[in-house]
């Protein structure tokens, strides 16, 4: 009953040029569509990767980032007496009480941007074992020394080992570079927590992060936390959840803007597909009349032209996605609205993104091909045959 697929495929091959241009149009839109989603997902993945599920981060309620969160020393010591906090064999809590500030640094490729400076406690590296010294040495406790994340070293001028950075009325020496495996900590500068408080004349931390004594102790900890009346203004979250939330604003912004733009673009590609398919129908009117005379049904004609359009857009989608997938090898850096600081991330492809990109392409093909296919199916046999 069906018009053979070879007929459809060979027609696409025969009009190489229009097929090529139409495919390219769809590919371009799908490329941008996929790139935007990959960018948003890249930001998200980087920040999700930053936090651990076994660590808990305490911040002040209603603070919308670490820099606007304040935890005074007294509250900090209350928190550290709560149960379910992992401890070293010597009994010290595996926790880091951290002042977090942003400073301005010059970017290598021009301009100034915000960089997160995190003051950490002794146990910070036990808490986050993924953060490793890459070169140079660790800062000395009690000294105005810093280690820079690998993305900072790459992207900011004057952040190499031996360079001095000025802030809080003092000079700080970069003594090492750390690598966090592509996570958000790569875009931070770390130093001694007490040095930072001292330099900024602060007495309060921003957040406290600690390791749970058991991976599944989170609920028990939260229960204990909520029973403590002096902690009403603070809230715990797993470290992963906390950083993930820092990505949501940015990812949402990229997605909304990107999808808005690509939907406008897609109108162009859809109209392109429509023009191509109308031309195909016009050129093949006699063929359609002949097929119908031979006994092929209207719906077979409809299906053949729709398939042709879907193939066009499907191929376009595949090509666009292929190009977009090569973006995975690129990292970019931009200001993350969630933390008000520069964040380096790479474009990341997920099965969902691949699938939605192809679906997006097929929708363009369907919308563009629908009216022409209906026209082909509605052709009157006698008139179609007379048009030769």
């Amino acid at each position: 009953m069906k018009i053979p697929l070879t007929y459809i495929l060979r027609n696409l091959v025969t009009r190489r040029l229009t097929t090529g241009i139409t495919v390219l149009g769809v590919a371009l839109v799908v490329f941008v569509f996929a790139a935007v989603l990959m960018m948003a997902y890249g930001v998200q993945r980087t920040l999700i990767l930053t936090g651990s599920d076994e660590n808990v981060l305490i911040s002040r309620k209603a603070s919308n980032g670490e820099i606007s969160s304040i935890i005074d020393r007294e509250t900090a010591s209350i928190i550290l007496t709560l149960p379910h906090i992992a401890r070293t064999p010597e009994g010290a809590p595996i926790a880091s009480s951290e002042p977090v500030v942003v400073i301005n640094l010059n970017k290598v490729d021009g301009g100034i941007s915000n960089v997160t400076v995190r003051g950490v406690s002794l146990q910070a590296f036990a808490l986050r074992p993924q953060v490793r010294l890459k070169s140079g040495r660790m800062f000395n406790w009690g000294a105005r020394e810093l280690v820079a994340g690998s993305a900072i070293e790459r992207r900011f001028a004057g952040s190499k080992i031996g360079d001095k950075v000025r802030f809080a009325g003092d000079e700080w020496t970069i003594v090492g570079t750390v690598d966090a495996g592509g996570a958000g900590f790569d875009s931070e500068v770390w130093g001694d927590s007490n040095q930072l408080l001292d330099a900024f004349n602060r007495t309060a931390y921003s957040t406290i992060t600690f390791k749970l004594d058991r991976p599944d102790a989170y609920r028990d900890f939260v229960a204990a936390f909520e029973r403590e009346p002096r902690l009403q203004q603070f809230e715990p979250k797993t470290e992963r959840r906390y950083f993930e939330e820092q990505s949501e604003l940015m990812a949402m912004f990229i997605r909304v803007l990107g999808i808005f733009i690509t939907v406008i673009f897609s109108a162009g590609a859809t109209i392109g597909a429509m023009i191509t398919m109308y031309a195909a129908v016009a050129n093949r009117t006699v063929e359609v009349g002949t097929l119908r005379a031979l006994g092929f049904r209207r719906r077979s004609v409809l299906a053949a032209f729709l398939t042709e359009s879907l193939l066009l857009s499907g191929i376009g989608g595949g090509v666009g996605l292929l190009f977009a997938s090569s973006l995975q090898f690129f990292t970019v850096s931009t200001l993350n609205f969630g933390s008000f600081a520069e964040l380096e991330f790479s474009f990341a492809l997920s099965p969902t993104i691949a699938l939605s990109s192809l679906l997006f392409a097929l929708v363009m093909g369907l919308l563009g091909g629908f009216l022409p296919s209906v026209r082909a199916a509605r052709l009157n046999i006698v008139n179609a045959l007379r048009s030769s």
């Binding site: 009953m1 053979p4 060979r10 097929l291 031979l294 046999i381």
Partner: protein, 225 residues
């Protein structure tokens, strides 16, 4: 034996804007099985329209059409499509082969509407192409064939389903004399050897010579001569 075609009081008009263009005016005639009928007449006299009605790709305004035992004016569109695929073989002036399909694939096309298996279809296609003498051109595309060869492929396509009736609209109209002769000889052979009933519209008096019966249409009516 009942006639294969029984046209009774058939009228047909076309409308252009609000003008009625009468094309066929109360036409009646029978065609017995095995006949080779030629329809002649000046251009615009309604030959193609009459042929299209008989072949079930157009509908009359009035009258009845019994073809191959079916009252085709009453069939709905999908039954009519099915009916055409089993009873009618089409031969067109400009061959109407599908350019992107090979000779083999063109001939196979109407068989895709049957329940024949791939092997059975192959047998049918090869037989039909052998009858028209093009068994060695199966893999050629229409572009790679001469006009006469294209028309022979089209004839193979028309006979591959073994239809009751062949309808041909000026089958030699686009061919040189030699190719036209080949086509006419072939149609004659299909009529004599394979007992195919043929209705052929033609302008060519030599084509009409091959026919048993010649009918002349003039302004939508049969004229006497």
């Amino acid at each position: 034996m009942d006639p294969i075609i029984r046209v009774h009081s058939v009228s047909k008009s076309y409308w252009r804007d609000s003008f009625e263009i009468p094309v066929l005016n109360n036409i009646s005639f029978d065609v017995p099985g095995g006949e080779f009928l030629a329809l002649m007449g000046p251009s615009g006299s309604g030959k193609t329209t009459l042929l299209n009605l008989i072949a079930g790709i157009d509908r009359p305004d009035k009258g009845s059409l019994h073809v191959a035992g079916t009252d085709i004016a009453t069939l709905n569109e999908s039954r009519l499509a099915k009916w055409r695929s089993t009873h009618i073989g089409f031969i067109f002036q400009f061959y109407n082969l599908i350019p992107v399909l090979t000779a083999y694939e063109n001939v196979e096309l109407p068989l895709l509407l049957t329940s024949l298996s791939k092997q059975e279809r192959r047998r049918h296609v090869e037989t039909a192409l052998t009858v028209v003498g093009l068994q060695d051109r199966m893999r050629h595309y229409p572009k790679q064939l001469s006009g006469g060869q294209e028309q022979r492929v089209a004839i193979a396509r028309a006979i591959t389903t073994d239809p009751t009736l062949l309808v041909a609209d000026e089958p030699t109209g686009d061919l040189d004399k030699r190719s036209a002769d080949e086509i006419l000889t072939l149609l004659d052979r299909l009529n004599k050897e394979f007992k195919k009933t043929i209705v052929m519209v033609t302008h060519d008096p030599r084509a009409a010579e091959k026919a048993h019966v010649v009918r002349h249409l003039d302004k939508g009516e049969f004229s006497q001569n």
